[in-house]
Amino acid sequence: MLRHVLGLDMTRRALWLVGKPGPMRDYYQEDYPTLDTPWHAVDYLAIDLETTGLDPMHDEILSVGFAPVRRGAVHMAEARHILVRPTRPVPEQTAIIHGLLDDRLAAAPPLEDVLPVVLKAMTGLVPLAHYAPVERRFLSHACKRLYGQPLIVPYVDTLRLEQRSVERQQETATKGALRLNAARERYNLPRYRAHNAMMDAIAAAELFLAQVAHMDTKRPPRLDEVSVG
């Protein structure tokens, strides 16, 4: 684990050293919290993306929602929902799912204007998502495309945490049981009707707080026990 810590830290430091001045370098300048920090001493940014599909090479980000978690609480005041103008028309199926209509998206800023805002909000915070690979791949790909560097950062993945919790109880998790709403129900969390990136980010943040509260450990879990590299 120590090696892993050094590895992460050194990679980020290296990227900062070689980076060009700009949003990416500013992001890497700030230290990521060390992985042995107790979970509640860490600040998180719950983040959710709406995309046109699942392949970062071909699909586009349509909106970003985020909400910070500080000192064990979701701060609604800093929650944001930002639409992103795609370069190509949105496939019809996706538009139906997200309710993001072309004309609203057409008026939105392009990704190069949105990404700096997201990176700034993420600086010094641990990103958190329900099924983090999507956010990880899309954001990293966008950073590479716009700033020439990947986004190397461990995430908290509430789906992984849920899977672990279910497996610990020696049950096999069915796919549906790990969905955001199904997982929330197990913790007596309300069902949100609205589906947009911001409410999903808030929903994931609340789920995370519930999951941590239910970890029956003698001491509060450390960051490396709730995050994935």
Binding site: A73, M76, A79, Y187, L189, P190, N196, A205, A213
Partner: protein
């Protein structure tokens, strides 16, 4: 905040008192929140912690306990915790723990205080004492003030209008030695249907008699009396009268009962005017008054029972037209009075006149003018000290038996505690009653006090009122000085406490009990009635009606002005709710009871009820410390 927090804003907007905030403030409030997750069994804060937020339950439930561990309140979805600490500058006195896994929104203290400053209704909601809030809430609901000063409707005006307000002109008078011809001319010239006969030599301004157009027809024309006969020979001497402070309703009852059409009204001992039945008919024709007239026409208890079958319908009508609980109590009790009086008249017809003077006393809710749907009978008989058991015992035994049996047939069922005139113990001459009261007051003990408190609410119904006034003066003289008796009475008044509050659809009661229904009588009304009794006896006030008692006790300083006003509002609110509940039950052909199911209450009503309870709790607390009842 992002406008898309709509989901969170809508949640708080759906709950009281946030529902009273304008959209802009709601938006700001929602945007200031922090979401927390508290696992079951974990504390949100403990005694002496600093509280920096108001906690709003989104899902789950919280429980407040005092430092000794006693449960004080439970809150569920949409309800809040921590306000008391915030109002105390942030220091927690109690412990708040999650009793279920809970998602809680924390509203920063700053937002909370800003909302309080800008929105009066919001501030009222969190005030420690509920009285002000109850009033402000009632104003919101448009229910009007405590005595039902709401929609002006015939029924409620009956009790709202004093006779003094009805007098349109000074009485038209004539001296007793004037002739009938002069009287007729005066009536025609003034276009009145009656003259008050006043002796100019009598400086007191009393009415020596009354002369009506009916008298001219029946006593003069029909008997062919000469027109120069003096008025004094055909007038009705010493007419029945009421005072300007009496209610219009009382005048209607008296006129119906005696079949008279004109009633002199006195003010400060002087003749102030005349109420005629034309006045009354113009004001209204109410079924309550009709019903009283009907009762007086019946010759059997069964007949009266049939007449009284209209009572539930009458209550429905009164409730629907917005009559206040105070008015309705008065109307319904007056019907019981009428039945009692009629039964006694019938008993006297069968048994002959009573051998010694007596007075029939109503006790309990009838005495207080607070009856609702028909209830048990509580009564007793007070006889003159010339009463001799061997000579008169049989008469009064038969008399009271006849009346109590009759009341039972009418639907005023026998009192389970046997507080009835037909019970030997409660049918006694004045000296024995004085002994009873001396014992209760001089050597109080909790058990006998519980039984006897009903006798501290008595009202004469029929017979020699002077006997009762003698007893009452004796009792009040004793009670107003007796600190020990009052302390016992206070302790008794504290034995029935209002609920702590509600949790979901349960009524939370001290000591962790809970119930599915709320007993409006024993948990709501009785505690207020008990408090008012202590204040009134402390103040030496002869009033028995709860609102009257609060008013006179306040005038005499036995209770604070605010405290009395708060209790009046609480009594009115809970009583009105009970009447509404009973009216609905009656409509569904169910027995009128005192139990409301929480599912039928709106959030607003629940919060109003909680305020009413908090008023009672506050006043009980004040009474406990004033009398140090903890030492008993």
């Amino acid at each position: 905040m992002d406008v898309e927090l709509i989901e969170i804003r809508e949640f708080i907007a759906a709950h009281h008192p946030f529902d009273m905030l304008p959209d802009a403030s709601l938006e700001k409030a929602a945007g200031s929140l922090r979401g927390l997750y508290v696992r079951q069994g974990k504390c949100l804060f403990q005694t002496d912690d600093t509280v920096d937020a108001l906690y709003i339950v989104r899902t789950g439930a919280l429980e407040t306990r005092d430092p000794s561990g006693e449960m004080l309140a439970r809150v569920g979805e949409g309800e809040t915790a921590g306000a008391a600490a915030l109002l105390r500058g942030g220091r927690a006195v109690n412990v708040v723990e999650a009793i279920e896994d809970s998602l809680v929104y924390a509203m920063p203290a700053e937002t909370f205080h800003t909302l309080r400053q800008h929105h009066k209704q919001f501030a009222y909601f969190f005030q420690p004492a509920g009285g002000e809030r109850l009033r402000s809430g009632r104003a919101v609901a448009g229910q009007g003030g405590p005595r039902g000063s709401g929609p002006a409707h015939a029924h409620l005006d009956l009790m709202g209008i004093h006779l003094g307000d009805m007098l349109k002109r000074a009485p038209v008078t004539i001296p007793p030695d004037a002739t009938i011809r002069e009287a007729g001319a005066r009536m025609s010239e003034q276009s009145v249907s009656c003259l008050m006969v006043v002796d100019p030599a009598d400086s007191g301004g009393r009415a020596a008699g009354i002369l009506t157009d009916r008298d001219l027809r029946n006593r003069v024309v029909a008997k062919a009396l000469p027109y120069d006969t003096p008025v004094s020979e055909v007038m009705t001497p010493d007419p029945l009268s009421l005072t300007a402070d009496d209610y219009l309703f009382d005048a209607m009852l008296l006129m119906t009962r005696h079949n008279i059409r004109h009633l002199p009204v006195m003010k400060d001992g002087k003749l102030a005017g005349v109420i005629t039945n034309t006045n009354l008919v113009q004001t209204q024709n109410t079924s309550a008054v009709y019903l009283v007239g009907d009762i007086f026409k019946r010759d059997t208890a069964e007949g009266m029972r049939d007449a009284l079958e209209m009572v539930p319908e009458l209550i429905l009508q009164l409730v629907e037209t917005g009559a206040s609980a105070h008015n309705i109590g008065h109307v319904i009790s007056s019907l019981s009075d009428a039945a009692t009086v009629r039964l006694m008249a019938l008993a006297e017809m069968r048994l002959g006149p009573a051998p010694v003077p007596f007075v029939w006393l109503a006790a309990g809710s009838q005495a207080r003018h607070e009856q609702t749907a028909r209830s048990d009978q509580d009564n007793c008989l007070l006889m003159h000290d010339s009463y001799d058991e061997t000579k008169h015992g049989e008469y009064f035994r038969a008399f009271t038996r006849m009346v109590c049996d009759g009341l039972n047939i009418c639907g005023y069922v026998y009192c389970p505690g046997e507080v009835m005139a037909m019970t030997d113990q409660w049918r006694q001459p004045l000296k024995v009653w004085k002994n009873y009261f001396s014992k209760w007051i001089d050597q109080p003990d909790p058990k006998s006090l519980m039984l006897s408190s009903v006798f501290f609410d008595m009202r004469p119904i029929y017979g020699n009122h002077a006997l009762f006034h003698d007893l009452r003066a004796f009792v009040l003289k004793k009670t107003s000085g007796s600190k020990i008796f009052l302390a016992y009475l206070a302790s008794n008044a504290l034995s029935r406490q209002p609920p702590l509050g509600f949790f979901r659809n349960l009524v939370m009661i001290r000591g962790g009990e809970h119930a599915n229904t709320l007993d409006l009588k024993h948990r709501g009304i009785v505690p207020i009635v008990d408090l008012a009794r202590v204040y009134a006896l402390d103040a030496g006030s002869p009033s028995v009606n709860t609102l009257d008692r609060l008013e006179t006790a306040q005038e005499k300083g036995a209770v604070s002005k605010d405290g009395a006003a708060d209790l009046r509002d609480a009594w009115d609110f809970i009583s009105t709710m009970r009447l509404r509940h009973q009216a609905l039950r009656i409509r569904e052909n169910k027995r009128a009871d005192h139990y409301v199911s929480l599912e039928t209450l709106s959030n607003f009503e629940r919060s109003q009820l909680k305020d009413a309870f908090s008023v009672v709790k506050t006043m009980q607390g004040a009474l406990a410390s004033a009398y140090q009842t903890g030492r008993m």
